[in-house]
Symmetry: C2
Subunit: 416 residues, 2 copies
């Protein structure tokens, strides 16, 4: 086994689920597991990108289920990458390529750690998904169909990494998501001389969007009704490091940025399009205007309820739904949380950050509900705050990758 | 000469000035004039697309200058055309192709009428431009350089056609234009989980745009200060035909649509772009957002003043200027206006519509100012209200084309 080279081969495979790609990545990882003596198979279940299931049964009392995803986000804008996103290069101690941080790196680091251990102290089950980046549309029915097979005592989530403070990060939940596309149309494009008397869908879209946000707050009626704000005890485990976070994001941050990041639900414009967007000028009243919005939801918001609020608030607007995920939060006193915290301390020699829920999204709630398991937590990942996940020049430090492997081994020992 | 076939050959040449195309069209029309015994030449003057100048000197006392443009608007969205925009087809009495209405059809109808007359009753000069659709950025310096050569008593503008009422249209002015692109940026695209704490240029763009318009009115401070609203006598020559205009635009129209169309300045969103606009979802905070705006200006607004108002209102926003044209209006009692009205009555057997200024734009004010000529009017065109100029499936009726030729001949007789 060559740790980094094997990861590079995995990243070379384009698994952009938004473009219908991934199957080849599933086959790669299944073959990789089998070639190292791990039982593994590819399972096609409704989705275009199959699931990969695996198992190591050492006859222990307890079983850990490991969840990762092998699909990645689209790489556009391609011209902003300093190297080919699907041909990873190592530079200044970093590995640069699409998916090295989210989530191929964590998937491989954990798998290689287990292979190196030989016989882990707990039974291990693996489930790898290929549709996480498009909102896991089939995960519920997949879990329903395989719930006996996936029975476990603990679930280790997709992988966090190092937090803004530089300390290892443990995350006990995820935000939910509602991803929609708003579309407005008229019959045809018109010469812009008709602007004094014609509908312009682009103007209507601007009005609609500006009605959805007031300052930093979402102004969709009812949006905050079910939000469970953080308690004092949940807030006290946060470590904020403004300087490194500002550097990573390339922006100045507000005073209470860490609380906001975890606690606040959002409405984000991810895309806008209308009319002529090429070089120079075209004097046209567009017949079509579109916005892609992602709402990040916190416990106990529900994507279906928010969608209904949106439909009610915007009658007559065409709404396409591209993704729905419920939020989730687990307890800080659970066995899995404690094992993660203790192993992190030993390997890194520092207190980890413990975050009540990630600002990002994953189908954690589906696992909790369908597999009837309330010990789900995240840790043992390879990212750092400047990893640029979902953006161009996605990267990880090779050193972080090696540390994650050590953390995985220690975590399994604590658990066992 | 084969009227329609010759026009078709002209339309086949892609002269999209926004894409830097046109030279071949200039050569075509120069050759066409020469082959019919008209003195003509191509003049390169700063612009990428050259001007075409021509002259017929019959030794008359008075001289008419004819202005047209041979360039066209971009054809996108191409998939909405029912036939190739650059390979015109005749169907149900109509000719469909880019530029048949705006402005290649009027250019050719007039030219062919003059050729058919043999010896016109006034001297004629021709000036054909290749940059009208991108805001005529070089017309002023061109006119300055050729002002002796272009000296004339009357100027016939690019061609109107039939108005909303079906009657022939005469237009005594044009709106001005300011075309800008607003651009907002941050350092890099970010994963949308950072939305609670990050700047989003798309949201900032929405806020800025919504601050520029309130209901039907532009809310840029100072925008209406110099507007010269229409007088009762100017309003009384308007003929409104709601039904045909609504059919042409594919929309319901407000009560006072014709007054508004002529009198109201506008701020139109011609294009919007930010983030991910492909199929499916990408959860990203874009690092770039852009809007293309065209302001149509009326007498006595000034594009430079409006640009300054915009810069003052939007400090810190990057503003690219793609076009500036001043508005213009001529007198309804001038010789050229009367000749157009009388010839229209004789050829069409009906009262024409007389419009104080077009809702569209052209560099009329440059001609008035630089050539020191205040008899500039528009008529003798081939369009109808459903011509879809600047849009897909641009078309004219072949019958309208033939009538325009007759109108041209009668107009020259009235003028002479």
């Amino acid at each position: 086994m060559n740790s980094i080279q094997d990861l590079i081969e995995f990243v070379k495979i384009d698994t952009t689920s938004a473009k219908g790609k991934g199957e080849e990545g599933a086959k790669f990882i299944k073959d990789y597991m089998q070639s190292h003596g791990i039982e593994a198979r590819v399972v096609q279940h409704r989705s275009r990108n199959p699931y990969v299931l695996g198992e190591i049964n050492v006859g222990a009392q307890k079983t850990l289920l490991i969840y990762n995803h092998y699909d990645v986000q689209p790489v556009e804008p391609l011209e902003r990458w300093q190297s080919d996103p699907f041909n990873p290069v190592e530079k200044d101690g970093k590995l640069i390529g699409r998916g090295v941080g989210d989530d191929k790196g964590s998937l491989m680091a954990r798998l290689q750690a287990i292979i190196e251990m030989g016989k882990p102290p707990v039974n291990i089950k693996f489930v790898y998904e290929g549709e996480e980046e498009i909102g896991s549309p089939n995960i519920d029915s997949f879990l329903e169909a395989h719930k006996e097979e996936l029975k476990s005592d603990y679930i280790l989530w997709e992988g966090a990494g190092r937090g803004a403070s530089g300390a290892p990060e443990i995350v006990l939940g995820v935000k939910g998501l509602l991803y929609v596309e708003l579309i407005l149309r008229t019959e045809k494009d018109l010469h812009s001389m008709y602007a004094p008397i014609s509908k312009n869908p682009a103007w209507d879209l601007v009005r609609i969007l500006s009605s959805l946000k007031r300052g930093d707050k979402v102004s969709l009626p009812g949006f905050y009704d079910k939000v469970k704000w953080l308690t004092e005890s949940e807030l006290k485990y946060l470590k904020s490091d403004r300087a490194s976070m500002e550097k990573a994001l390339g922006q100045k941050l507000p005073e209470d940025f860490e609380r906001r990041l975890i606690e606040e639900p959002t409405c984000n414009i991810a895309g806008l399009y209308s009319g002529y967007t090429g070089e120079g000028s075209k004097t046209v009243i567009p017949s079509y205007a579109m916005a892609k919005l992602d709402f990040r939801l916190v416990p106990n918001q529900d994507p279906d309820e928010v969608l209904n609020q949106l439909k009610e608030f915007l009658p007559g607007v065409e709404i396409k739904v591209w993704g729905k995920v419920r939020p989730y939060r687990t307890s800080i006193t659970s066995k899995i949380s404690i094992s993660l915290i203790e192993s992190a301390k030993k390997v890194y020699g520092t207190e980890p950050e413990v975050i009540p829920n990630s600002p990002g999204t994953g189908p954690m709630e589906s696992f909790a509900r369908i597999l009837n398991n309330n010990q789900i937590a995240d840790g043992v990942g390879v990212e750092h705050p400047g990893s640029n996940i979902h953006s161009f020049n996605e990267n990880i430090y090779v050193k972080d990758y090696m540390m994650a492997k050590e953390w995985m081994k220690q975590f399994l020992r604590e658990l066992g």
